[in-house]
């Protein structure tokens, strides 16, 4: 009887540990994580990316709908192929990177959660903060849980990976980025693509 109780306790503790949400760190030493952005413009679309990504996400493989987290993009890491456009973009006339050094998305709620194997799709609602303005947005997101795959990315490191992919659009005018101005030169709509992977070492 005693042995049974001990065994049951061990199983319960192990089960709880396995089902516990894991925290994934999105600071990527390999520099693969990136956020892309695109704005239409007359001569050619303005296409850039940001690499300065950090933040943490708490993910429970047994309950993906309970995912919570915060992803931060360093405004100064935004890159454009044209140096003048990049200078303008980071200046106080546009993003004011010196005053607002971070672009933040903090999730609040996952809806329409569908899981198939290691992949979960959902609509995530959260607060998007850009240039000091916070707005609630909803975006479709795809989460891929890669169990025990951290070692393939970081040698001699055991753990899991969580890949997040999301595509959504925002209106720059909503975030006080020259609202109603220069729309013949730079579109109001910004298409954002997030392709990031976080690590949860064991």
């Amino acid at each position: 009887m005693k042995t049974k109780l001990i065994l049951l306790s061990i199983m319960a503790v192990t089960g709880a540990a396995l089902a516990a949400p894991q925290t994934f760190d999105f600071k990527d030493p390999k520099g693969i994580n990136n956020a892309g952005f695109k704005l239409d413009a007359p001569l050619e679309a303005i296409n850039g990316s940001a690499s300065g990504i950090s933040g943490t996400v708490t993910f429970d493989p047994a309950n993906p709908g309970a995912t919570k987290g915060k992803i931060v993009v360093a405004t100064g890491s935004l890159m454009l192929p044209n140096p003048m456009q990049k200078t303008h973009m980071l200046s106080d006339k546009w993003l004011d990177a010196a005053k607002f050094p971070e672009i933040i998305f903090e999730s609040k709620e996952f809806k329409n959660v569908q899981t198939a194997g290691d992949t979960t799709t959902a609509d995530v609602t959260g607060t998007f903060t850009l240039k000091g303005v916070s707005k609630e947005i909803t975006a479709p997101v795809k989460l891929t849980y890669l169990k025990d795959k951290l070692g393939q990315r970081v040698p001699n490191q055991n753990g899991d990976l969580l890949v997040i992919r999301a595509n959504f659009t925002i209106q720059r005018g909503d975030f006080k980025i020259n609202p109603g101005q220069f729309e013949d030169k730079v579109s109001n709509t910004i298409e954002i693509t997030l392709s990031i992977a976080g690590a949860s070492p064991k």
């Binding site: 520099g31 693969i32 192929p81």
Partner: protein
């Protein structure tokens, strides 16, 4: 004496303008005839085999665009225009 100097200046300015024009067009064509803005950084995409994510690596590379071509054409035009300020013949 002044007429000869004027003629020499006119010739030099027009020659520089022509070299600038031909040289910049040649350089623009040789670097891929980029019909958008000048680039100093070029993104290169690569795929991470573990996650399947597409990473972006930026490489420093000068790719002249239409603004470069336009500036060269304007500069050549200004030089050619200035050459008309040096009359070859005395009135």
């Amino acid at each position: 004496m002044l007429t000869r100097w004027n003629a020499t200046m006119k010739k030099i300015l027009r020659m520089i303008a022509a070299i600038l024009l031909v040289g910049s067009i040649g350089f623009w064509v040789a670097t891929g005839a980029n019909r958008s803005w000048t680039k100093t950084g070029v993104p290169e995409k690569f795929t991470d085999t573990t996650t399947g994510l597409e990473g972006i690596q930026w490489h420093e590379k000068f790719v002249p665009g239409v603004d470069f071509l336009g500036a060269a054409l304007v500069a050549a035009g200004i030089l050619a225009g200035i050459s008309f300020l040096f009359p070859a013949k005395s009135k």
